[in-house]
Amino acid sequence: MSELRRSRYVERVREATRSLFEDLLEQNRKLCLSLAMLGQGRESGPPELGELERWRTQQQSLLELLEAADRETRSFEEQVADVERQNSNLATLYAAGHALHASLEREQVLAAIQEIVINLVGSEQFAIVRADEQLSPLALFGVPASRLAGLSPRTGIIGRALAEGRPLALPRAVPGDATGVRVCVPLVAAGETRAFVLIFGFLPHKGELVPLDHELFALVGSQAATALHAAELFAANGAGSA
């Protein structure tokens, strides 16, 4: 939110308040006048019907003015909250991308993927596996290796994610699905799926997946594979031991 926009908004609110204050003073003056007339034994008679109607109209205008100011304030607050949310999402994606490319050590890249899934997505039950027929585990967190038994890269959510080459997420656990995989993120580099991140569950307090979660899955899917590939090339060239 720019300073100019804030100062313009503050100026508009000040102007509306000033106008409201002046109207209230005018109404107060008229009421005092009426009371004075009544106190004098109604020498001048009751206020005319036309005068009462004008007062009612003025009061209606004031109410509408207040409602408009209230609506504008709410709209402004929503805009501020929206900008904060966007800033936060960008910060999260930037931090995740930075973490993935901060090292050329394979273990560090795997640790970065785990940090993202635990801290930014909110899961403590997941596996990072190679995209081979056995789905060989590269890292396990909160699940035993036996949890991978029976999983195949050809069927279920993993098979579909592999075929489509993009992350897939189930909004909720599917009854009767023995695999229990809720999210499958294929890690794709140079058009080839090299590994998968399989998420089996989320932290108990985490509600539904939000758009930022899907952005994170897409980022991990594209950037983690590149980072892992770079780390493997780096190790294969013997640079790590130089």
Binding site: N87, A91, Y94, E115, I118, L120, V121, L203, H205
Partner: protein, 124 residues
């Protein structure tokens, strides 16, 4: 006046994310990677608020919170704990060692900023 916040987490990714969110709101941000470093920085820098992860190596967030409360030079500093677990038992432990509030991971920025503003507003 710029308010100073000390972020404590062993995850560089989380520290970077929290730093960016708070810096955008014009807070001055300091960081520490564990509970021990947090105690040292808190004594030296006297931040207006500490945002601290619970699960950390060396000294956990709960232990550090207890130590900060026992130290007269840091006992007044408000502490928000960050937990991956929102269960009542974890939350209760946090309050027992003297935290002012808590947030759960993954951190919701709106909730976090609201809690920080509430606490800093109340201590002004």
């Amino acid at each position: 006046m710029t308010r100073k916040i000390l972020l404590v987490d062993d995850s560089a990714t989380v520290l970077m994310m929290e730093r960016m969110i708070l810096a955008a709101e014009r807070f001055e941000v300091l960081t520490a990677n564990n509970g021990l470093e947090a105690q040292e920085k808190a004594r030296r820098e006297q931040p207006d608020l500490i945002l601290m992860d619970i699960v950390m190596p060396k000294v956990t967030g709960l232990e550090a919170c207890k130590a900060l409360r026992a130290d007269p030079t840091t006992s007044h500093i408000p502490i928000i704990l960050v937990t991956t677990r929102g269960e009542p038992q974890t939350v209760e432990q946090g309050y027992e060692v003297g935290c002012n509030d808590y947030v759960t991971k993954p951190v919701n920025s709106s909730e976090l900023l609201s809690k920080i503003r509430n606490i800093l507003g109340a201590t002004q």
